[in-house]
């Protein structure tokens, strides 16, 4: 029977289903909360793990008046292209072009939906860009080992902001951890490539002793939502 509430589906849903997770619902999307016990997930987070975080709502705002409009709404806009600013409530604002900003809410955030509603009024010079990117988090001390096998960017040196590059042959926007001790590398990519990239990265993560982790590894409070 089909539920009356429209349910979003991660492009990785089938791949995750095969790993028998404990499911939850976040932002109207079915998400794996965890795959194993809490201790195991915590260990994976510290050592090496891969997590699907496609559930976080996201939009793009683009156009000659996009930056000014965002500032008007109280949104912090990065100064430089590929710069990153916090969006509030744990979200991110990433400047992806001279006149384009990518915005993503974190768990429980509402900022993106507020901005999307405001854009329905079609303010002049501002376009809503629907974003349904797949998104992954690569976590743990062993992350660089995985990246060394899949990506030609030297992440051992400090990188501020995002990098547009290829990971395992797929074009991705990559955000390295922005401070020492920050948890994860984040990737955003075209959802049609997501099943392939997940499979490719998970194989390498497992080769180096890691595994898939659920959303509770990112935010333990997710199970309580």
């Amino acid at each position: 029977m089909i539920s009356s509430n429209p349910l979003r589906r991660s492009p990785l849903h089938e791949a995750l289903q095969e790993l028998n997770p404990v499911w939850g619902k976040v932002h109207e999307m079915q998400v794996p909360l965890r795959f194993g016990g809490a201790a195991k997930e915590s260990q994976l987070k510290a050592e090496l793990s891969l997590c699907d975080v496609s559930c976080f709502p996201k939009i793009g705002v683009k156009g000659p008046e996009a930056l000014a409009w965002l500032v008007q709404t109280g949104t912090s806009v990065p100064d430089s292209v590929y710069g990153v600013q916090p969006l509030g409530e744990g979200g991110l604002a990433i400047r992806t072009d001279r006149q384009e900003v990518f915005l993503e809410d974190a768990l429980g955030g509402q900022r993106v939906s507020q901005l999307e509603s405001a854009l329905q009024a079609h303010p002049p010079g501002v376009c809503l860009v629907r974003r349904r990117d797949a998104s992954l988090a690569l976590m743990g001390a062993g992350s660089n080992r995985v990246l060394r096998e899949t990506c030609g960017v030297d992440f051992s040196r400090p990188v501020t902001g995002v990098v547009m590059t290829r990971v395992a042959g797929v074009s991705c926007m990559v955000l390295p951890p922005q401070s020492a001790g920050a948890p994860a590398f984040r990737f955003w990519l075209d959802p049609s490539y997501a099943p392939y990239l997940w499979e490719a990265l998970l194989e390498i993560v497992r080769h180096h002793g890691g595994d898939a982790a659920g959303l509770e590894a990112i935010d333990p409070s997710v199970g309580k939502l």
């Binding site: 429209p6 376009c127 629907r130 797929v170 049609s192």
Partner: protein
């Protein structure tokens, strides 16, 4: 081990670890650190392999990664070089390229047949009669090649890896270590790679008895090891240089893709052989190989040796042999004046007779060619030719050659460095190198030890400065000074031949002479005709001597010659390392899992996976496809069209932009309507098509072909910049899922899932609406690609499965069927809808594809207009027409690309063809001559093996030519 020497001061072996291994079915032992070659030699084994063409016995030659006549295989791997393959417990190897084993190779008869196998013989012998060529080809395939692949070997993972550094130094001899230390002391990240398992380069074998040199090396190594920003990697080959200092590093387990900011090549030189009769047999080797055997492996290379020298290294080698207890029977010096340094006196004092202006003209073989019994010495004139007259035969079991060097400059050449022949040092040296690339040491023509250290230091500082580091000191580059270490012509002719220039390819001096005589007097042609330099060692021991011979034969000078092009890799690399973990991205629509569950058989459409058809138990592929077609025509079908490109174009110039990009008219297209779009390039060739939907005054939603989305988006961005138009372009291909609900019941089913008014009056054919389907925001386009009333439904990708499920559920009682690409192709062909790339090619323009209707030549401008104006005035050369076979036809059905023949000439080709169950006949599209395009014309199509069938040119569309299926009345009638 009969030829093992007492422990040597700097040997590489560990005598505490004895290892058993097997070679050619026999057990041998060696020590940890031995290679197969050194362990076998220590056991008195002299025949390690057989040559490529003549199957002559071969032994140790260079012991420097280049002994490609001693290649082995195991059950897991083939073409393993014995001179670098370490022995490990349980190792079992045999030689490649033998028939019946290396000792008694039956194919050795080829050596006896060699007079009938001169250079280029295959071009001449196998040319005629042509009917015998298949026989020759089979024999050659059996004989040719080296090693065999075991398809049952277990899979090994060799994933590649990226790595980064500021300065890469190649080579760990004095120059390399010095350069690495200098660069690291300026604070940069430095990586030094060394091909051998130990650091030290030539100091490991050439200065083994030189305590001062070893003290210097030890000091340098201590400094290197103390620097945390200097990484030393042994057993790692820098195999290839690519743009922007991207270097391929090869070790035993993987290829590392290194990006350096600068490169210092201190890779040294390859010692060069002399050429004389039987210079290839076991026991004849380079002097440096003999020194490596002694100092690195503690192995006696021979018991009695004749040294052939043309530099001080040969004299040093002779002294090393004496110190190791080897009897040096004589030293033949090619130079008229002999050795100027004190080494000559030392050699004389050691009791070794020295013969100046003397060469070795022949090695006398033992029966069976498995070793040598002596050397024949002959006088040589100043210009290098042998003087007739007396020769001297000396008994020995070894000949050690030290007549010259050639730089290991492969990486420099790959980087487009310019190297020129320097007569002062008689070698090629770098004259001009790319930015960020530096050379040091012997590869740079610097031989003196102190000078090499200075040269290396200077190169390291230059590399550091190039990377922007603050350098506190620098050193002058030392000059390249003589005496030359290489003899200008170490080649002795012999009437009986078997004086080899290239041991890999079994090329003798007379082969080059004959080739030049035959007219191959250009170096590039000579290379291809003779195959010199094409063996596994890539000519490292052959090219220079061949060039010398070539110059002498053609009267050219070596410094005027251009070397042949150097390409990666510098040494053989296992294919598994290149394969690594293959990243071959593919794309899936959000509905992929639903197709799998429904039994889809997938196909590749570009890098997308799409359902070709949905398998049904008890039905063949053709039957399943036909059923899908019937479902769409008479009930309801649902196809995933999520692979279509989807572009959102908005802004004040959006309409004007679309008007310029496409051939049709869009400026006055009303919001809420769609129009077919055709895109041409500037030469008027069709490159893409799709549908443009006007969502608002300055908002368009445009679809492209599956394979065209990225290219079209890129092209649009480019034109937008060129024209400076105010638009916002978003490539939303992955953002939306899309599906086409088509068939007489489509409206009824969709009405149950939306509150939108779907009546023909409110939502006409070619209209576009935005609303909700099953609670999900959606864009609906009424398009007719498959020729039935239908809706192309575009929804956010993460809700596509939700909408698909609702449509399938709502359509169940109407017999809804998912249909795949093959059914869609049949349906669209029945409507004669063109598929770009199938019914068009790289030259097709709209007029010959029957698409004049989509081209509005009276617009002010569109891309390709000017070219189309010219084409419109020209006489057409072909026309795309529809054809049909009679309903009663029961013969073979033509295939795509079958030719249309007229009067024995090609008149065109079939582009699309199918049996239409709807129409009960074979239909298709084909290019024909314009005069054949008249309706009713009979065309002949050749369907394999010369069989011709006749078809008639018919009007298109084949099905529903009036497009009545899009009219409300007909649709309602069908639906009831």
């Amino acid at each position: 081990m009969i030829d093992r020497l007492p422990p040597q001061p700097h040997e590489w072996i560990d005598r505490a670890q004895r290892i058993q291994f097997e070679f050619e079915g026999r057990q041998y032992s060696g020590f940890a650190g031995d290679t197969v070659s050194t362990a076998l030699w220590a056991n008195g084994v002299r025949v390690l392999g057989r040559s490529f063409k003549y199957h002559r016995p071969r032994g140790i030659w260079s012991l420097s990664h280049l002994d490609t006549n001693a290649m082995l295989e195991t059950r897991q791997q083939t073409n393993i070089r014995a001179d670098v393959c370490p022995i490990v417990p349980g190792l079992s190897v045999k030689a490649v390229n033998t028939v019946g084993g290396v000792e008694h190779d039956l194919a050795a008869v080829m050596d006896w047949l060699s007079p009938f196998l001169p250079v280029g013989f295959y071009y001449k012998a196998f040319h005629t009669p042509g009917r015998l060529f298949p026989f020759y080809e089979r024999r050659m395939r059996e004989m040719a090649g080296l090693g065999s692949v075991n398809p049952d070997r277990h899979l090994e993972h060799t994933p590649k890896r990226y790595d980064f550094c500021d300065v890469l130094v190649v080579g760990s001899g004095p120059a390399g270590l010095s350069a690495a230390v200098a660069a690291a002391e300026s604070g940069l990240q430095v990586l030094l790679v060394e091909e051998n398992p130990r650091l030290g380069g030539s100091l490991c074998y050439q200065a083994a008895n030189d305590s001062e040199a070893h003290k210097l090396q030890a000091g340098l190594l201590e400094r290197a090891l103390s620097l945390k920003n200097l990484e030393l990697r042994c057993s790692t080959l820098a195999a290839g240089y690519y743009a922007d200092h991207w270097i391929a590093l090869i070790d035993s387990t993987r290829m590392t893709k290194l990006r350096a900011r600068s490169l210092v090549v201190a890779a040294g030189c390859y010692e060069q052989p002399a050429v004389f009769r039987n210079n290839d047999l076991p026991g004849v080797m380079l002097a440096s190989a003999a020194q490596r055997l002694i100092h690195q492996y503690g192995v006696r290379p021979f018991r009695e040796v004749v040294v052939l020298a043309a530099n001080s290294h040969g004299y040093q080698a002779a002294l090393d042999f004496v110190a190791a207890g080897i009897r040096v029977q004589a030293l033949a010096d090619l130079r008229t004046q002999g050795e100027p340094s004190s080494l000559a006196a030392q050699v004389k004092a050691a009791g070794v007779p020295i013969h100046n202006a003397t060469c070795v003209s022949e090695a006398t073989p033992k029966r069976g060619l498995r070793s040598i019994t002596g050397a024949v010495l002959s006088s040589v004139a100043a210009q290098g030719s042998i003087q007739p007259g007396q020769s001297l035969r000396i008994a020995c079991d070894g000949i050690a050659m030290s007549v010259g060097w050639t730089p290991a400059d492969g990486l420099l050449r790959q980087g487009q460095g310019r190297l020129v022949y320097n007569c002062e040092v008689e070698q090629y040296v770098p004259e001009e190198l790319p930015d960020g690339v530096f050379a040091a040491g012997r590869v740079n023509g610097i031989y003196d030890l102190a000078a090499r250290l200075d040269d290396g230091f200077a190169a390291g500082v230059e590399a550091a400065a190039y990377c922007g580091a603050q350098v506190s000191s620098s050193r002058q580059r030392p000059p390249r000074i003589g005496p030359a270490r290489s003899h200008f012509y170490p080649i002795a002719s012999h009437a009986k031949g078997k004086n080899f220039l290239d041991l890999d390819e079994d090329i003798q001096l007379k082969d080059i002479e004959h080739a030049v005589q035959e007219g191959f007097d250009n170096l590039e042609l000579l290379k291809r005709y003779s195959t010199f330099g094409m063996g596994p060692s890539q000519g490292k021991h052959a090219n220079l001597n061949v060039l010398r011979a070539f110059c002498r034969l053609t009267g050219q000078s070596l410094d005027a010659l251009e070397m042949t092009t150097a390409r990666p890799f510098v040494n053989p690399v296992p294919l598994s390392h290149l394969a690594g973990r293959i990243f071959s991205p593919h794309r899936q629509t959000p509905l992929h899992a639903r197709h799998k569950e429904a039994g889809a058989s997938f196909m590749h459409a570009g890098n997308w996976l799409r359902p070709e058809y949905y398998a049904v138990a008890g039905r063949t592929r053709q039957e399943a496809i036909a059923e899908e077609v019937v479902a769409v025509r008479h009930r309801l079908g649902l196809i995933d069209v999520g692979t279509l490109g989807k572009l959102e174009i908005s802004g004040p110039d959006a309409a004007a932009f679309i008007e310029r990009i496409y051939t049709g008219r869009f400026a006055r297209l009303q919001p809420g309507l769609t129009r077919y779009v055709l895109m041409c390039d500037e030469s008027g060739v069709i490159i893409d098509d799709g549908v443009a939907a006007r969502l608002g005054e300055d908002r368009f939603y445009v679809t492209t072909t599956t394979s065209g989305s990225d290219a079209v988006a890129r092209e649009m961005r480019r034109w937008a910049m060129v024209w400076r138009m105010k638009i916002v372009l978003v490539n939303a291909t992955g953002t939306y899922g899309a599906m086409n609900l088509a068939g007489p019941q489509s409206r009824r089913v969709l009405e149950s899932l939306t509150s939108m008014d779907l009546s023909a009056g409110k939502f006409p054919y070619l209209g576009v609406r935005e609303g909700e389907i099953a609670g999900v925001p959606a864009r609906l386009l009424r398009v007719g690609f498959v020729g039935e009333w239908g809706y192309e439904i575009h929804v956010p990708a993460d809700t596509a499965v939700w909408v698909w499920d609702h449509l399938m559920e709502a359509g169940r009682k109407f017999g809804i069927r998912p249909f795949g690409v093959e059914a869609q192709r049949v349906l669209r062909l029945e409507k004669a809808h063109v598929i770009i790339g199938q019914d068009s090619d790289g030259l097709t323009h709209p007029f010959e594809a029957g698409m004049q209707w989509a081209v509005k030549m009276d617009k002010p401008f569109f891309v390709g207009q000017r070219s189309l104006a010219i084409l419109a005035k020209k006489r057409p050369t072909r026309a795309l027409v529809g054809f049909a076979l009679p309903s009663s036809y029961a013969g073979p059905i033509p295939k795509e690309c079958h030719l249309v023949i007229e009067s024995g000439e090609i008149a065109g080709r079939v582009t699309s063809v199918t049996f239409s169950s709807t129409l009960g006949q074979v239909i298709g599209l084909a290019y024909v001559k314009p005069e054949q395009s008249r309706l009713g014309t009979t065309i002949e199509i050749r369907v394999g093996r010369g069989e011709m069938i006749r078809a008639a040119v018919v009007r298109t569309p084949f099905y529903d030519p009036q497009n009545l299926r899009q009219s409300q009345e007909v649709a309602l009638q069908e639906a009831s």
